[in-house]
Symmetry: C2
C-alpha cells in the first residue's frame, strides 16, 4: 500500500515516545515506592532530562511531516490506522502548538501551585491560594485558545481527560443523577441501621498483603506482568506489559487496603487487556479517564461489594484473620463493607455519596470557567453546595475547598471522570448481567473469568477506537445515562438500610 | 575566563549524558530486583530506546566541537578542568570512533554470546562456545584498532576498566604475588585446622536482613541516599545520590549475605564519597574498577574479618540469633568467618585463594591476546593452571573455563581489577594503620568513622584525578605492590591456621 512505509515510520516515532513515557512512569513509581528520603534531587534531575528528551521526540518536525503526509490521503488508510493518525495528530498539536514560553510558565506554575496548595491546606488559609487558582484558570484559558478551542476552555479541559465529552453532556447527566441521588442519600442517612467500622481492628499488614494478593490474582490480575507495592497513596502505573500497582496498610483498616487494591486492580486489568502490539499507539491505549475509572469501579463496587463475592471470600478472610473476625457476624462484616455515611472529604467517601462530591466540583468548575464565580468567592460557594448536597458544612477550608490537590496543578475537568466512570460501570454491569445472568453465582464459587473475558472482548480490546459515549452505546446498546447507576445503588443499599 | 561559557556548555552535555546513564542504571536495578517475570520484553524495549538516546547524546557533534575548542588552549583551564576535558574526550572518542556497523555487530554478539555461554555452561559443552569466544576476541582487537591502540588490544581492554594500567604492569605485580601466595596457600591447606561452616544453620532471612542493615549503617552507609534489596547476584548500582545495593539470603548461609552486603557497602561508600557536585564529570566518578574493588575489599576483608570488628558485633549477632549461635564458640565463629579452602569456583573463593583465580584468568587472557593460545585449547590450559595454582582440577568445563560470564560479553581485561583491588586495599590499610594505630580499638567499640573519613578525604574525593597507580602512590607513599597484601594475608591467616 502507498502509505506502508510512512505509516511504519509513524509507528517508530510513536514507539520511541511511548517507551520514553513508560520510563518516566517507572521513575515516578520508584519515586513513590523506593526512593531514599534524601534522593529527591537526583530523581528531579532525571525527570528533567527525560522530560526534555520526550518533549523533543513529541515535537519532532519529521513527525509533523509524516502526519501531514498521511492526512492528505486519509481514505487510503484502514479505519484502525485512521484512529492512530488522528490521535497522534492530537498529541502532536498539544506538543507543538503551545509556545515554549507558555510551557515553561506552566511548568513553573505547577511547582509553585503544589507548594502553595500544601501550605494553604495545612494552614486552612484559602486567601493565600487565590492567586494560584486565578493564574491556573488563566493558563487553562490560554492553553485552550492556543489549541483552537476559542473560549471553550472548560470543554477543552474535559476533553483532555475524556475525549468526546463536554460540559453540556456532563451537565445533563449529573443533573439527572443529582435529582435521584440526593433523596436516596437522605433516605439512607435517616435509617437506624448504622454500620460499625470499628469492629475490624488489629489486622497484621503482612497477612492483609497476602490476602489481597489472593483476591486480586483471583480476579484475574496477571502478576507475571505486574506487581503491587506500598506507597502513601494507592495508584496504578505502567503499561499492560508491566503494571505497577500500589496500596497502603493500616492494621485497623483492612478494608481500606483491600478495596483500594481491588480498585487499582480494575485499572490494572484494563491496561493488561489493551492490545499489547498497540501499546505505543491509540489502538492500545485507554479510551479516557472515565472509561478507566469505570473499570476500577466495576471491580471495586459491583463485584467486590456484592454478597456473592463475599460468599466466596468471607471464609478465606476468616481463615486468614481468625482472631480478628471471631466476634464479627457475617451481617456486620457485610454492612461494614457497604458503609454509607456522608463525609466532607471526597477520598473518604463511600460509593454512594462519592458522586455528590463530584457533582459539587463540577458545578464549581463550570461557574469558574463561565466567569459567574470569582475565585475569591469559592469557599462560600463550596460550603453552600456541601450543605445542599451532603448535608454537611466544612468547619474550615482544609476540609472544604482546599482538600484536593487537582486544581493546584491546573487539572480542571478531571473530577467528572470519577462519576462518569461510576455511571459507565453500572451500565456495563447490567449489560453483562443481561447476557450472563448466572454471573453472581459464579462469583460465589470464586470464578471471575467470564466477566474479565467479557470486558476484555468488549471494552479493553477497543483501545481508543471509541470515546466514552460511543463505547458505552456500542457495548450496552444504550446511551450513557445515570439510570443504571441509580438502579444499582438502590438495589444494593435500600435493602441494607431501608428495609 | 575565556572558556567559562564553553566549559559550562560542556558540563551541560555531560550532565545530560550522566542522567541518561543513571536512568539506565535504575532500569537495570529494577530489572534485577522488581521486574515481573514476563515483563522482560518491555524492559528490553525501554533499554533500547534509552541506549539510542544516550548514544546520540554521547556522539553529539557539538560536544566534539566544544572539546576541540577547549583542547586548543588547555593551559587556560584549571588542572581540574583539564581532567574533566581529558576524560570527556576519552568517552567521546569511544562513542564516535567506532563505526555504527561495528557497534551493531557488537551489540548483537553480546546477546548471542550470553545465551551461548549459558547453554554451554549448563551442558558443559565448551566446543559450542568456541566460535563465540573467537568472535569476541576478534571484536576486541578491531575495537582497539579503531581507537588507536594498534595491536595492543589487551592493554586497551585493561585500560577500559582500569585507566593507566597495562598487561606489563599487571604481569609483574601478579608474578611477585604468585611466588609468595602459592606457598602460603599450601601451608594453610596443609594445616590440621579446618573451619566448620556447617555450624551456622537456620538463620531467618528477616533477622539476617535487619542485622546486616545495622552493620552496614554502622560502617557509615547513608541509607537516606541509598537502599539494599534482594537480587539473584549481589551488586551495587546508582550514583552517590541514590545508591542501590543488593544482597541475597539463604537461611543456612548467614555469612554469605552479611559479607556480600559489606562488600557492596564498600562500593556504596565510595560512590557516596565522590563529590556530588561533580557526579556528571570525571571529578565525581570512580578512578577505575581496581580502585572501586579496593574499597569493597577493604571493608569486607581488612575491616569485617578482623577480631576487633567481631569484638563489637559478635554480641549483637548472638543477641539476634540466640538459638542458632548458642552451641557455636567464639573461636569457631571467627574461624568460619575466615575460612580458607581452595575451590574450583571463583565466586565461592575465600579472600586468600581468590587471587589465584584471578592470576589464572590473567595468564589465559594474556596468551589469548598474544596469540600463543588458541581458543579451542582453552580448557586444557585452564585445567593445567587450576592444578598448578589451586591444586584442583575441574572435572568438567562448567566448573572450569565455562564458569564466568565475563568473556561471553567480550569483557576481557576485567578480571585483573579484582586482584589489583585486593592489593590496593591492603596497601591502603597499612597506610591508615600507620597514621592511626588505634583504629582496630575503635572498631572494637563500634566506631568506624575515622576510617571512612580518611578514605573520603584521601581516595573518594579525588574522583578520576589520578589513575590507580598514581592514586596508590600519592596516598600510601609507595608504588603499588603485592607486599602489603601478602603481609596482611600472613598476619591474618598464619596465626589462625599455622600456629
Amino acid at each position: 500500500m502507498k502509505f506502508d512505509a510512512t505509516y511504519a515510520e509513524l509507528n517508530e516515532h510513536l514507539n520511541r515516545i511511548h517507551q520514553l513515557g513508560t520510563i518516566g512512569k517507572l521513575l515516578s513509581w520508584d519515586e513513590q515506592v523506593n526512593l531514599p528520603e534524601d534522593s529527591a534531587d537526583q530523581r528531579a534531575a532525571q525527570h528533567s532530562v527525560l522530560a526534555e528528551t520526550a518533549h523533543t521526540a513529541e515535537m519532532d518536525p519529521r513527525l509533523g511531516e509524516i502526519l501531514t503526509g498521511l492526512e492528505a490521503d486519509l481514505a487510503l488508510l484502514t479505519d484502525e490506522q485512521q484512529v492512530v493518525v488522528k490521535e497522534a495528530r492530537r498529541d502532536y498539536d498539544i506538543a507543538t502548538k503551545l509556545p515554549a514560553e507558555f510551557v515553561r510558565e506552566k511548568a513553573k506554575q505547577s511547582s509553585v501551585g503544589y507548594h502553595a496548595w500544601a501550605k494553604a491546606r495545612a494552614e486552612s488559609d484559602f486567601a493565600s491560594y487565590v492567586p494560584v487558582l486565578e493564574k491556573n484558570l488563566e493558563l487553562a484559558q490560554r492553553e485552550a485558545a492556543y489549541l483552537g478551542w476559542g473560549d471553550r476552555a472548560y470543554d477543552y479541559m474535559i476533553d483532555l481527560h475524556d475525549p468526546g465529552m463536554s460540559a453540556a453532556v456532563i451537565s445533563e447527566l449529573f443533573g439527572e443523577l443529582k435529582k435521584e441521588l440526593v433523596p436516596l442519600v437522605k433516605q439512607i442517612t435517616a435509617s437506624s441501621v448504622k454500620p460499625r467500622t470499628d469492629i475490624l481492628r488489629g489486622f497484621p499488614c503482612e497477612a492483609q498483603s497476602s490476602f489481597l494478593h489472593e483476591v486480586t490474582e483471583k480476579l484475574g490480575f496477571n502478576y507475571r506482568r505486574g506487581r503491587i507495592d506500598v506507597s502513601l497513596h494507592p495508584f496504578c502505573s505502567g503499561t499492560g506489559s508491566d503494571i505497577r500497582m500500589t496500596t497502603r496498610f493500616h492494621e485497623d483498616e483492612p478494608l481500606d487496603s483491600l478495596f483500594s487494591s481491588i480498585h487499582e486492580t480494575g485499572h490494572g486489568l484494563y491496561e493488561q487487556g489493551l492490545p499489547a502490539e498497540h501499546h505505543a499507539n491509540a489502538l492500545g491505549r485507554a479510551a479516557g479517564m472515565g472509561v478507566h475509572e469505570s473499570q476500577s469501579r466495576l471491580w471495586e463496587n459491583q463485584v467486590a461489594r456484592s454478597r456473592e463475592f463475599w460468599r466466596y471470600f468471607e471464609p478465606r478472610f476468616r481463615q486468614t484473620f481468625p482472631e480478628q473476625t471471631k466476634s464479627v457476624s457475617s451481617d456486620e462484616l457485610y454492612l461494614a463493607i457497604n458503609t454509607v455515611a456522608p463525609t466532607l472529604i471526597r477520598v473518604d467517601a463511600d460509593e454512594v455519596t462519592y458522586n455528590l462530591h463530584i457533582i459539587l466540583r463540577f458545578e464549581i468548575e463550570q461557574r469558574l470557567f463561565a466567569g459567574t464565580l470569582a475565585v475569591k468567592d469559592l469557599p462560600e460557594a463550596w460550603n453552600a453546595l456541601a450543605g445542599e448536597l451532603l448535608g454537611l458544612t466544612p468547619s474550615n477550608d482544609s476540609e472544604g475547598v482546599l482538600q484536593d490537590v487537582h486544581w493546584s496543578d491546573g487539572a480542571f475537568g478531571y473530577f467528572p471522570s470519577y462519576c462518569l466512570g461510576n455511571m459507565m460501570a453500572a451500565q456495563l454491569w447490567y449489560s453483562v448481567l443481561d447476557q450472563h445472568p448466572k454471573l453472581p453465582n459464579e462469583f460465589a464459587t470464586g470464578d471471575f473469568t467470564w466477566l474479565l473475558s467479557w470486558l476484555q472482548k468488549n471494552v479493553h480490546v477497543e483501545g481508543k477506537r471509541y470515546d466514552a459515549l460511543a463505547l458505552t452505546e456500542k457495548v450496552t446498546g444504550e446511551k450513557l445515562s445515570p439510570v443504571a447507576l441509580m438502579r444499582y445503588l438502590r438495589e444494593r443499599y435500600v435493602p441494607l438500610y431501608c428495609s
